[in-house]
Symmetry: C2
Subunit: 689 residues, 2 copies
């Protein structure tokens, strides 16, 4: 399928603004789900109990994915692509688990994933009034500081121990604030993972495409005090396979949408932000492709990282292409202008909300001016290295911890400190040559984008060769050793000041500049967009009425839809693929090589077993690993991707072509039984019913 | 200096449309130079003799650069970066001329550059009437065919032998057609080249920046019948150094501008065309950076190629950034709308030109739809390999040569056949591992951009791994051998059909598809844009009056300006740098390493010797290698670059910030004497006065 097919635009409907959500559009809050609308369309309304049960069965992986509990003994299902760093961390040059896959024959063989954390959302409290009271009348830096202080206080009061995580969640760009209380699981172990080539079957060429034949499946288990955690609120495995036309739900954590942006905000994305990332990732991809061809060991340590880079690149390319599409952009423009006309045309609305447009305009101008330095310095794109990240954590922890919690940088508040400490203590190995490569790449880019004569470039790089500088830093630092990091963390300011570690020295050297750009960013961009975004959202509600869903923020949402193919440019895309199709697509070479395990099982797997399927659910990156559940709240599939038109979902949802892509539950059980002989896992799933 | 500085936009004037050329704007035709305007501003008017002399002193290098005759014995001055492929072709693993530089101590030591061609424009004939008569009333494919036939006929009648090249040049997007007759020099020899690091001092970080300290200089000599060609119409070397404020001229070959495009055309560039190239070159750069780090031999063969990729990437990034700049784009939009208002507001104008806007709109839609397949197939971006290019030349030559000249693909017409035969006979070596690398890269991209299931991808790549396919092709083909190619060329269709060469087979496999997309492209895009571009241009003339210059087309132009620095975002950029500044910038590591030859000469070179300078001349890519001449028509410098704001010059010229960057004549003579002891060259230059 070609992304660039323009024919579908003829059927693209003018995008519905926020409060006019049509068809299956929407990433809904669990505590504000449009049950009546669903009932009217499908004759089924989720009850409050249904919603509570599905919510408690949903899991968030701290790295940026979704998951679900699928047994009462802490068994967690997610995508293979969500846990690749764990599999790599557990691999060695001699035992390449990513290539070979992993199965814990017994519970004692389940292996802990370094640095992995799973969260279960146990409670939602509306704290809008408290936050609005604390920030009332404030603007700019003042607003940002007040918001941080009140959030930190609310989170601190809520987080009663290291097994609890609390986040104040900003919804509707500041229109509402909810306090989310999570149960934290820090002992997460690997139970099952298939071979990389089966999980990523079709590789980058098939990514975001359909028909698709990927087995992007993995199982983890969360432990509590050394034993499997009890999770009675798990989602049971469905007894009946899901069929074309069936109503399905996706509980999960969509990462981010920008559906209520002004045209200026979209233009900034199209012309500055996305091109910045596209250029960065395209060049990085080239470097990594060539780097990994250098040796089998490099291939082993780079493979999954490259795949992540390629995934981001393809997703951003899709977003950029849609924003560059005249019909699509014209529809977004009309949406923006329609709201402006309504507000301008009504003196009462104009008085209340008219300032939002100018406020956002100013924030966008600030974002345009600050974007590059913010990304390079505070986003650390100029220092692309896990060891540098560790150095920064340590340098900042020493500076921040002596302050009162509410005055610290947000990620060092009392409520967040456990996660920070876990990151600092991470035991996963860091491949040194890979670190050198990416750090050199990013230093080169820092110099290129700011210019060789920029004061910061002079200070940091001076006249060094970036490659030599990266080598010296990575070979000279001791921060690859967790004990060294923990000692520096415990030692605080004194230890940091006494340290001769070159990576610590670099982090200290750039810290004042990075903090300065962050402060400007939070005040002029984030703070301003929050304030005026809230107004814009209120204007939407005032003009179009209630009943919307907030933009995605990597917090738990629920979407509904049906299993359904689509038509694009005259081509009909089916709702499902089968295992037989997988075997037909086998070309024997990566990325279209079916593994020996599956070839050996060919006779035992029915060719008509459903493999992947598409649904009309409105999801986005971050939803990876979400369960697909039926009206009984039973698991019928595992979401792992969207189709190419779904990349426009960042900005708007089109029911005609936007599709969620999932692994069918049938192929999961069939493969566990016939390919992997993972009877222990299979029985746990089937026993969950 | 930061490109992203937005402050300068505050002073950006609304861009003058074509016929309102202000200040030093303009890439003027030699036969339509605004001498009176120059006289009014500077008290000096070039005479017809002056213009003829300067025109005959200018040289075009077929690879895409400019140059000049600087002695009466065929000595040619150009940029080092224009002849790097020659230097590489003459290098061996043991003799790295790019790194070491080259000096022919005697004339017999001058070494022929394989495949290099130099052209001198000897005659311009206006053939507008003939062409318009032949194409009158035709549209689409029909128009394209008629244009090709009449051009081929005119060129054929003009090209009286292999020492003559004739091109019908399209000006004003079809508003005028001129027949350019060139003297062809195919025996071009290398006389002098400095070290790569001095020519490219500052490397990619300093590219398009200023202050600058590059010695981007090279000398060639054209031969005729085995002896130096006589070139009495050369440009003499100036006796006096050029100073700040002086009036200067640049004769040369600007490659392409798009200053009269509609907003839709600019949007297509911003959203589709430039992002396509940016992504391609960013990834290719990453691959090449990593590839060249693999071995010293790879470094040797890749270095200059990488530099070319980086140059294109940076230039296109600049163009993209300007098109993404709200103030700049708004000014271009206003320029477009002003013309539309004038035309729409006058029934007579509307009747004559009104159709142009809709016609261009349709052509842009066609371009959007065809862009990708055209680039990949006919532009051969999907087959990035010199050996593939050779295979295509041979396959097409066999198909085309039996046809009458006017019905062939244009590059196979009788007038162009000598150049085609020279390309086929090229003796320069092709590094095989580099070929494999770039071919694999482009095949991967072909699959990625069209999709694995695209019929053409299925046909060409199928289920092969692109890397293995590239290896098989490059290792299996015999086309690296010039004799093999010549035999296939002579053998024609029979030889091609009998050939088992895998690269020939690939070229044959894709030829029908490539020709089909080319035919659509020429009819729906090129042809339509020529027709309607002509109308748009006529509308400009009707609305704003006469006196304009046509968009650049890599044909000879003359620009005027003064030696002058600029101010941007509060920073003052000087008009000149000095040799002393070069030594101060020496960091000892690439790309800021001053070579031992220059370090040894430090005492002999006066620190105040001017090094590089900037002028207000309106130039663009293709002007590289142009001489900078004073009002006497004497050489005072050598153009090699523009500053970052000059990258917006593709779309519009701003006298406040747009600058040409040149090597000062003083440092050329000083370095020839004191660094390189190239007394033979120096005496020839000085003797030219």
């Amino acid at each position: 399928m070609r992304f660039a097919s323009r024919a579908l635009l003829a059927v693209w409907i003018v995008l519905a603004p926020l409060q006019m959500a049509a068809a299956e559009e929407g990433m809904w809050l669990f505590n504000d789900f449009p049950a009546q609308k669903v009932a009217a369309a499908y004759g089924f309304a989720p009850t409050l109990q249904w919603l509570d049960k599905v919510r408690l069965g949903a899991v968030r992986l701290a790295g940026g994915c979704s998951a679900s509990f699928v047994s009462d003994k802490g068994l967690v299902m997610t995508n293979h692509h969500c846990i690749r760093s764990c599999i790599e961390d557990l691999s060695t040059p001699k035992l390449d688990l990513l290539a070979r896959g992993f199965l814990a024959r017994a519970q004692k063989d389940e292996r802990r994933c370094p640095g992995m954390e799973a969260n279960q959302l146990t409670e939602i409290t509306d704290v809008t009034l408290q936050v609005q009271k604390a920030t009332a009348g404030r603007t700019g830096e003042d607003f940002a500081r007040a918001l941080k202080e009140v959030s930190s206080k609310l989170e601190g009061d809520c987080a009663t121990g290291t097994a609890v995580r609390c986040d104040v969640v900003t919804l509707f760009h500041g229109g509402a604030y909810h306090l989310y209380r999570y149960r934290r699981f820090q002992d997460v172990r690997l139970v099952f993972a298939p071979e990389f080539t089966m999980a990523a079957f079709g590789g980058d060429p098939d990514n975001f495409n359909f028909p698709r034949y990927a087995f992007d499946v993995a199982f983890l288990r969360v432990f509590d005090g050394g034993s499997p955690a009890l999770t009675p609120e798990h989602l049971p495995w469905a007894k009946e396979p899901v069929k074309e036309g069936d109503l399905v739900f996706v509980p999960g954590h969509p990462g981010g949408t920008e559906r209520v942006q002004t045209v200026e905000q979209l233009e900034l994305q199209r012309d500055v932000v996305l091109p910045y990332f596209l250029l960065t990732f395209a060049e990085l991809r080239g470097v990594l492709l060539e780097f990994q061809a250098g040796s089998p060991e490099r291939h082993r340590t780079t493979r999954a990282r490259l795949r992540r880079v390629e995934n981001v690149l393809k997703a951003m390319r899709g977003r950029h292409q849609w924003l560059g599409d005249p019909a699509f952009f014209a529809a977004k423009k009309e949406q923006d202008q329609a709201l402006r006309r309504k507000v301008r045309g009504d003196p009462a609305l104009e008085a209340r909300f008219g300032g939002a447009f100018e406020g956002i305009s100013q924030a966008v101008a600030a974002q345009r001016a600050l974007h590059l330095e913010y990304r390079l310095l505070e986003g650390a794109d100029g220092f692309r290295s896990e060891l540098f990240n560790q150095a920064r954590r340590l340098v900042r922890a020493a500076d921040e911890r002596p302050k009162p919690s509410g005055q610290r940088l947000r990620e060092y508040s009392d409520a967040r400190l456990p996660a920070m400490e876990q990151a600092i203590s991470m035991t996963a190995p860091v491949p040194a040559d890979f670190e050198e490569k990416t750090l050199a790449f990013s230093l080169r880019r820092l110099r290129e984008l700011l210019g060789a004569d920029h004061p910061l470039v002079q200070k940091v790089i001076g006249r060094q060769a970036p490659e030599a500088m990266a080598r010296t830093l990575v070979r000279g630092t001791r921060l690859a050793d967790p004990a060294t990091r923990q000692a520096l963390y415990r030692g605080g300011t004194k230890a940091i000041e006494a340290s001769a570690d070159p990576m610590i020295a670099l982090a200290r050297l750039v810290d004042a500049d990075a903090r300065a750009v962050r402060q400007s960013w939070e005040a002029q961009v984030e703070g301003a967009l929050a304030r005026h975004g809230e107004l814009l959202n209120q204007a939407h509600v005032a003009v179009y009425g209630q009943g919307g869903y907030p933009d995605a923020t990597f917090t738990l949402r629920l979407s509904y839809g049906t299993v359904q193919g689509w038509t694009e440019g005259g081509t009909v895309f089916p709702a499902m693929t089968t295992v037989g199709g997988l075997y037909r697509r086998d070309a024997g070479v990566f990325p279209f090589a079916v593994e020996p395990s599956w070839l050996a099982a060919k006779k035992r797997l029915a060719a008509h077993t459903p493999m992947n399927l598409v649904t009309t659910n409105d999801i986005i990156g971050g939803n990876s690993g979400s369960p697909l559940v039926d009206r009984n709240g039973h698991v019928v599939g595992l979401v792992f991707d969207g189709n190419l038109p779904s990349l426009a979902g960042r900005y708007g949802y089109d029911p005609a072509v936007n599709r969620t892509v999932a692994v069918h539950a049938e192929v999961i059980t069939a493969a566990l039984e016939h390919v992997y002989r993972a009877h222990r896992v299979l029985e746990e799933l089937v026993g969950s019913r």
